[in-house]
Symmetry: C2
Subunit: 491 residues, 2 copies
């Protein structure tokens, strides 16, 4: 069978793009930089949303919805925020169209110009903190633990499906607290949720760590991120949790009376993950045959393909399949029986392989005679014959096994591609030849990080929360350092 | 206790607005015409979404996501659609801000002007049909049964929380079919889903019917709506399902090869419900004390309030409550135990009444001695003492009873406020004095409907699907009519 994808070896970026499109995940739209998320891709996103939303709610968070429009002046209120966000964005200047005077089509009505322009939210700190001002008077009103599922727009010049698009979907949490400690705890609670989700649902190992000053969120005192390693040796930031201090409270004048009766500014966090996770998921596990999906996020976990020549054979197979279907469904497994007569088994095999369905069952005449089912697992492409009577339990176990196996495989890949380096020359050499994560000593200054970025395009992905203390010297300046940080080129 | 709401009698519009705000459902934002949906309101919307989404999926629909931006030229392609939608909308003209030359704040960068302006979607037929063009070649690609949950923007001049806002949340289904019959069936499937949802979840009786030409969706051949009657005697259109014929397929050149190998245009439907349903829900059931929520959509179905003087009493009550809590939770009921010591029981009673919690339990010292619980139902405000040992089953049954009771009450109200009228004078008189739905004969012309609207502000809400055939004369022109249609003033 001819391969439908460019191989990773040949052109990784092309492989990724081919895969996203051919597996029916997403495609570019008629609007520059905006994607259409197709039903199969959206079904995975919905599973991600559900799992994350449950985790947020279990930790006391609630959802709400704030306007998509942000008055332009709001962005000027938090000085570093405006630098980071307000520049490349969609600006609404008018609120009406009219028939063109020349009778051809429609034009913007110049009389319907807004007094103050609106920005389509690139992130919602400003409009939300402007709202919180009216919700918070006393410590009794705190904490506010609010999340929003929404679309946001950032006018990116170079876009890639899921990884970087002008419009994307995300969740953004915005919490308000009475004390600095409580806000910092919240930041950590969330990064732990993100890491758990990445590892247990996406089967994607991540490193939790602080961002350096250069890479911090515009307006944050501290940003904690989860960083994952993709198969091409580049890092991908998969989620961030920000401790905002009192910056936004001061910018929007949000004060509260504390337990001692004194007025103080409120402490804030914000945090988010986006449809970028879809890109991370695809790049972490997939291969040259197509998607590989973790069972916990697969829209279809098991597909059953009948192998037959005559329609009477199909009927007998379908009878047997009926009981497997009901067994799997009662075990909570999403299963599809593809008895479409217009397609050959070979076509179906390739299709479900491309779409990353974790387990494929094939049942033919000989299986009926022998009481067996052919089981093919997507992750290893191994096939085996399993007795029909134990198939349901076998699949329940195998799904767990696949979930664990692809996590282990990704973890193993990361370990093999994480290198401790002490010399800048070696760093530069290995960055180009091997790629991956590099654990290096760094003197802690923005200047050194900037120099490294200019020399090599690599940045500090994070300063791991669990980095062991170790005396060393910055690989560039030789100044003292007490722990290694993670460098990599990044998406 | 002083009433926190204006009464319906005194000022119905003010009562509604007070209620939405005081019950923490939503509020106006800093952005003109846009609302903030607060966590309590959003929790109800989430329950609506979940129920509808399940119903869509059970009938074979899948979700996807399309861009928020629509190129201006797309709107000109379907002639009647542009008239209906493209005028009052948010127009994106630029994609960058820059620091103001005078150093004060930020301004729109005139160099970052879009070649073609983008409209924030007021509805997505155009961008979606432009996309479907690439998805549909053959009858094998059909039907496409796709839904989108999204925000949309219509630049409304006069806005009201939930009922009419510039930005609102909704779902919009867009389906593509090989035949006219199949598309018409889909339109009916959906209106039945909407009616089931309205009646079984929202406990809101609705009339299903065709829209007259005047009230039809811009671009549709036929619109079916569900219409509900509010307590002030005005109608509210709660959901619409449109048969679009081949209009959008022709506008966007979407053809397919049918089973006979011939090229034909694709048949379309679209359908939607929005956060407007929240307004309908509130106005259907609530009273001068606050919200009344149907148990199936209530974020908190049962609240338990301890009545105590000393802290030792609270401890004993809490012990008893523990087993009620676990019993209710295992029955799948969402329950809150409000043991907040900073608030008095009276305050809590008023608060949960305002928020429409269907059942309130109160437990005090005497209840512990007698083995009883005080049960107050929100819909009738009745209280009764129930033996502690049977409380869980009692509540399970009572929740069903309340769901049914508020539906019956609303249905009874509608029946009492639906009047058959044959004289235009009587119609005009009763419209002003009584309000409600009017079943009248109409000659079927747009002119007559327009005249009635100009005379009275009433419009044809729908031509009921199940309207019995009955010979009569148009109440205005005296021309023959074979069935009665529903007139009312509407939101």
């Amino acid at each position: 069978m001819s391969k439908v994808l460019t191989s990773r070896e040949e052109n990784y970026a092309q492989w990724y793009n081919d895969l996203v499109i051919k597996a029916d995940m997403a495609e570019n739209s008629a609007v520059r930089g905006c994607m259409v998320i197709k039903p199969y891709g959206y079904a995975i996103w919905e599973k991600m949303q559900r799992a994350l939303d449950d985790m947020f709610k279990q930790t006391g968070h609630v959802n709400a919805y704030f306007p998509i429009f942000i008055p332009k002046s709001f962005f000027s209120k938090e000085a570093s925020h405006v630098e980071g966000f307000a520049k490349e964005c969609a600006v609404v200047t008018h609120y009406r169209l009219k028939n063109s005077p020349d009778g051809k089509g429609i034009v913007v009505d110049p009389e319907a110009k807004l007094e103050e322009e609106y920005i389509i939210r690139p992130t919602s700190e400003t409009i939300i903190w402007d709202t919180y001002k009216n919700w918070i008077q006393s410590y009794r009103d705190l904490p506010l633990l609010i999340n929003q599922w929404a679309n946001v727009v950032r006018w990116e010049m170079r876009t890639r499906l899921f990884l970087r698009t002008a419009e994307f979907l995300w969740q953004e949490g915005h919490t308000a607290h009475a004390t600095s400690e409580e806000a910092i705890n919240e930041t950590e609670t969330i990064i732990n949720i993100y890491a758990d989700f990445a590892e247990k649902w996406m089967a994607m190992p991540v490193i939790k760590g602080y961002k350096s000053e250069n890479e911090r969120f515009a307006g944050a005192l501290e940003t904690i991120a989860i960083e994952a390693l993709m198969q091409d040796g580049k890092a991908l930031q998969a989620g961030t949790s920000h401790f905002l201090g009192q910056n936004f409270a001061k910018a929007f004048d949000v004060t509260f009376t504390n337990q001692e009766g004194k007025l103080d500014y409120v402490w804030a966090t914000s945090w988010g993950v986006s449809t970028r996770l879809m890109g991370a998921l695809i790049m972490t596990h997939s291969d040259d045959n197509g998607l590989v999906l973790p069972p916990k996020l697969a829209p279809i976990q098991v597909v059953i393909v009948p192998i037959y020549k005559k329609i009477e054979e199909l009927e007998k197979i379908s009878e047997k399949v009926e009981s497997i279907l009901s067994g799997l469904k009662s075990a909570g497994i999403s299963v599809k029986y593809d008895n479409d007569d217009k397609r050959k088994p070979g076509w179906k095999f390739a299709e479900y392989e491309l779409k990353g369905v974790p387990i494929r069952l094939a049942i033919g005449q000989r299986d009926l005679e022998n009481g067996t089912v052919e089981v093919a697992r997507r992750d290893t492409l191994e096939k085996s014959l399993i007795p029909m009577e134990t198939i349901v339990q076998y699949i329940v176990d195998l799904l767990e096994d696949i979930q664990q196996n692809i996590f282990n495989k990704a973890l193993n890949f990361r370990e093999q591609n994480t290198t401790k380096v002490d010399s800048y020359e070696e760093f530069k050499h290995l960055l180009e030849t091997k790629g991956g994560f590099f654990l290096c000593h760094w003197d802690g200054t923005a200047e050194t990080e900037t120099k490294i970025k200019e020399d090599t395009k690599a940045t500090i992905r994070c300063i791991p929360l669990d980095a062991p203390l170790e005396n060393g010297k910055c690989m560039v300046t030789g100044k003292p350092s007490n722990k290694r940080v993670v460098f990599a080129k990044a998406y």
